[in-house]
Amino acid sequence: MSTALTQMVARLLLAPILLVALAVLVKGYASVGDGFAAGVIAALGILLQYLAFGREEVERLLPVRLIPAAGFAGLVGALALAAWPLLRGEPLFTHLPRAGSEVTKLGTLELTSAIAFDLTVFVLVLGAAVGIVHAIARESEEGET
């Protein structure tokens, strides 16, 4: 099913797909996109690798076993981000810096704690999607043997 052509295309596309995901993630605060969409895009890119190369090859090429674990770490991060304003006696999800105050900029990207939250969403969605794909791939292989 997988030919040399699809393998080549898949390999060529991986970096651009991840780049697009990153762009959607960081541009989210200025235009269309957010962590969720970026996570799905990146997951689709990795899913393509599974289709082209098979599970074992992908496991060799990419740290796919770590990605779901990173997803759970993302969940922990999201919960921590939600809860830490409580330590200062403020409501959940009081993002910093506050409205109207100065923001550190990285290029045109404004660094706020909301971006960090979006990042955890990205990691979580990516981790969940890759984890499910991996489990399905492993199970279908075991079914065949």
Partner: protein, 751 residues
């Protein structure tokens, strides 16, 4: 030896934790008490409010002090217990962790000053006790007993929550001091008090909820000694003491407490005379003793409140010592638990015999023990109320005297049993001796114990209270009552020995027709109901979908018919700009209709996917690029995942499922369910869109605020900031989904 060393460390750690807890409680109490008050949910006026007042000090000291004794006892008991059952030493971790959790939740319950907090710790004790009772989880009886304890105390625990909500609705606060200050006599107060009292009765195993306690004796001995003497069961009377300012304002509740307490004394006392297993006797005795406490609170006097505190203290010390004695005797005799097979151990286990004699004497209220003073206040409080109450008190005390005489005499006196005795490690005698020494010390110098009880009474009453326990060598009524209870108790003991059969018949009748039968039948009924619903709902996927759609559709339809209809159903107009959108929607509609045709799963799923993409296009036209992007991405991912999952299913299953719909009644049922629920949703959406004004205002507000959140894109600002909590919950669901899918595919493993 090597395997045992880590568990020793564990026991030591738990012991240190308990002792430190005890020392901390004692120190804070000696410094005049302390309080922590942190806002929790200000809009509900729920606070994380803990205060070490007299009542809290009493119960915290009991929980940590008896806890330390029990941990010391478990040091050697638990390895023996596990080795008798061929279980690994690491099972100890669970035991100590749960015991400490229980201790912490008990201290939390004792110190909590917020009704919501009380409820949380209340349930935490129930959860910890569930796992502790079911510690021997390979035994069905233990699991059954644990479930019973959890259900009886958990379901009634919900009544406590209801009471908290009722009071909150009326008074607008969960804070107990505030509630006491604001509550006015009335039906709300009576209802709330009654609910709290019922919850307390169940926890303290009072009649008619008493049946769970004897069952719970299938727990290991240290658990019984701790939970069923000093802690879990004491939580019920603790709640009564804590909520006493409410309860005392409704006379019916107080009267009910007197009645329930007396019934528990009688039932527990009579049944304890008929039991043969040591721990069973102690279990029946325990709820009879807590019957005393409930009875004293029910008398509604200051003496009663102080007496309740002193009684709880004396009983916790004495009864845990007796439970531990039962465990030691059973261990020494190689597993013998039956009174009829034991006897004559006084000569061979002198320290244990002496210590348990002191404990039994304390419960039976003999002079020179703390129990005497506890009973003195008990008699005094009953007498203050009137002679019928005094008679009840003497009857209860006589029964107590009788079954304790039977228990202690049966184990330690009489002809010695021939069996060889195993040596007892010192850790299984020392805690009992320590508890006994405390009881005797209290019998000589009552002041420190009474001070604590008076402080506990004062926090229940909201005013300083005096007990006035002392030895009086004269013929005052309390002394006469004590003497007559000893005399009657001796008579009862002789009578019980003579008429064993009558009492046993009574016990059998109680077991067969009593509340336990109601519990069993209720549980069986719920099981049957659940099976029936399960059968109806999950016979196949379509039934399950129908089981969601039909009730949901019915409820929504009811809301649409009965609810207020402002604006009604408007039909808008179509302008030239809307043509593209209308075309896309018409196309989506066609695809939606087309999804009803295919029988093959893959085709069906592709049709559904096409519908998703068509709707994504509609979002794009409607001016929601963010939504459209996510819709396209999610559709793509789901399409691929579904195809992957289909590849896992055996093809004959797919074929069989595909053929299902063409048979029998389903032919009409499924389309009918689909059409009706679709129609309801259509009407719902129509009516919602007919009143768009408010939704639009919210949207504009969000767009306006986006720049405050340092965002140029309002949608992202909504997701990551304004409605970040929603997003958090949604992505948590994603993580749960991952765990669910992976563990399903990997048959229970997570990776």
């Amino acid at each position: 030896m090597l395997a045992r060393s880590p568990s020793r460390g564990l026991a030591a750690l738990a012991l240190v934790a308990a002792v430190v807890g005890f020392a901390a409680a004692a120190w804070i109490w000696s410094e005049g008490g302390g309080a922590v008050d942190v806002p929790w949910s200000p809009s509900l006026d729920a606070r994380l409010h803990f205060r070490l007042d007299g009542l809290a000090a009493l119960y915290s000291l009991i929980a940590t002090g008896v806890g330390a004794a029990v941990v010391l006892y478990s040091w050697r008991y638990l390895p023996l217990h596990l080795s008798h059952q061929d279980r690994p030493g690491r099972d100890q971790v669970r035991f100590y962790a749960l015991l400490l959790l229980f201790m912490v939740s008990m201290v939390g319950l004792a110190t909590a000053q917020d009704l919501l907090l009380v409820f949380v710790f209340w349930d935490l004790t129930a959860v910890a006790s569930y796992f502790l009772i079911a510690y021997d989880r390979h035994e069905g009886e233990s699991r059954w007993a644990a479930l019973m304890a959890l259900l009886v105390t958990g379901i009634t625990g919900a009544l406590l929550l209801i009471a908290a909500l009722v009071l909150h609705a009326e008074l607008g606060t969960f804070s107990l001091p505030e509630i006491f200050a604001r509550a006015r006599p009335g039906s709300t107060l009576t209802v709330a008090s009654a609910l709290i009292a019922v919850a307390a009765f169940a926890k303290s195993a009072q009649v008619p909820f008493h049946f769970w306690l004897p069952r719970a004796m299938s727990a290991p001995t240290p658990v019984s000694a701790y939970l069923h003497s000093a802690a879990m069961v004491a939580a019920g009377v603790l709640l009564i003491g804590r909520a006493y300012p409410l309860l005392e304002r409704s006379a019916p509740v107080l009267d009910a407490m007197v009645a329930v307490g007396f019934a528990s004394m009688l039932v527990g006392g009579v049944l304890a005379l008929t039991r043969d297993r040591l721990k069973q006797i102690l279990a029946y005795s325990t709820f009879a003793q807590y019957g005393y406490v409930v009875f004293m609170y029910g008398l509604g006097s200051a003496t009663g409140a102080v007496g309740a505190g002193l009684y709880v203290l004396a009983h916790a010390l004495a009864k845990s010592a007796l439970f531990l004695t039962a465990g030691s005797v059973t261990e020494a005799t190689g597993g013998e638990q039956r009174l009829s097979e034991l006897g004559g151990l006084a000569r061979r286990l002198p320290v244990l015999a002496a210590a348990s004699a002191a404990a039994a004497a304390a419960v039976a209220a003999l002079p020179l023990t703390l129990g005497f003073f506890a009973d003195e206040l008990f008699f005094k409080a009953a007498l203050e109320r009137g002679w019928p109450f005094a008679a009840m008190a003497v009857a209860g005390a006589a029964l107590t005297f009788a079954y304790l005489g039977r228990l202690w005499g049966g184990v330690f006196l009489g002809p010695p049993s021939a069996a060889q005795l195993r040596p007892l490690p010192w850790q299984m005698v020392a805690p009992i001796a320590a508890l006994a020494l405390l009881l005797v010390a209290g019998g000589v110098v009552v002041a420190p114990f009474e001070d604590l009880a008076e402080a506990a009474g004062a926090s229940s009453l909201g005013a300083p209270a005096k007990g006035g326990a002392a030895y009086h060598l004269d013929a005052r009524p309390e002394n006469l009552m004590a003497l007559s209870s000893y005399g009657l108790g001796t008579l009862a003991l002789l009578y019980a020995a003579a008429s064993d059969r009558v009492l046993r018949a009574l016990a059998t009748a109680g077991a067969r027709f009593g509340p336990e039968r109601l519990y069993g039948e209720g549980l069986a009924f719920l099981n049957r109901l659940s099976d029936r619903v399960h059968e109806l709902e999950v016979r196949d996927l379509r039934s399950r979908v129908a089981a969601v759609l039909v009730p949901a559709g019915g409820l929504v339809a009811l809301a649409l018919v009965a609810g207020p209809r402002s604006g009604g159903y408007r039909v808008g107009s179509l302008t030239g700009d809307d043509v593209a959108l209308a075309l896309v929607l018409a196309f989506s509609m066609l695809i939606a209709l087309a999804t009803t045709i295919p029988r093959n799963h893959v085709t069906l799923f592709l049709a559904l996917s096409a519908l998703g993409f068509a709707l994504a296009v509609a979002y794009a036209f409607f001016g929601g690029p963010d939504v459209a992007l996510v819709a396209v991405l999610v559709e793509t991912l789901f399409a691929l995942l579904f195809l992957g999952v289909f590849s896992l299913l055996p093809s004959e299953v797919l074929r069989r499922e595909a053929a299902l719909s063409t048979r029998g009644s389903r032919r009409w049922r499924d389309p009918l369910v689909g059409v009706l629920s679709g129609a309801v949703v259509f009407v719902l959406v129509w009516s919602t869109l007919s009143v768009p004004a408010r939704g639009r205002a919210v949207g504009e507000e969000h767009v306006r605020l986006a720049s405050d959140a340092h965002a140029k894109d309002a949608v992202t600002a909504i997701l990551a900031d304004f409605r970040a909590l929603d997003t958090l919950v949604e992505v948590s669901v994603v993580a749960v989904g991952l765990a669910g899918v992976v563990s399903l595919l990997r048959r229970g493993r997570l990776w």
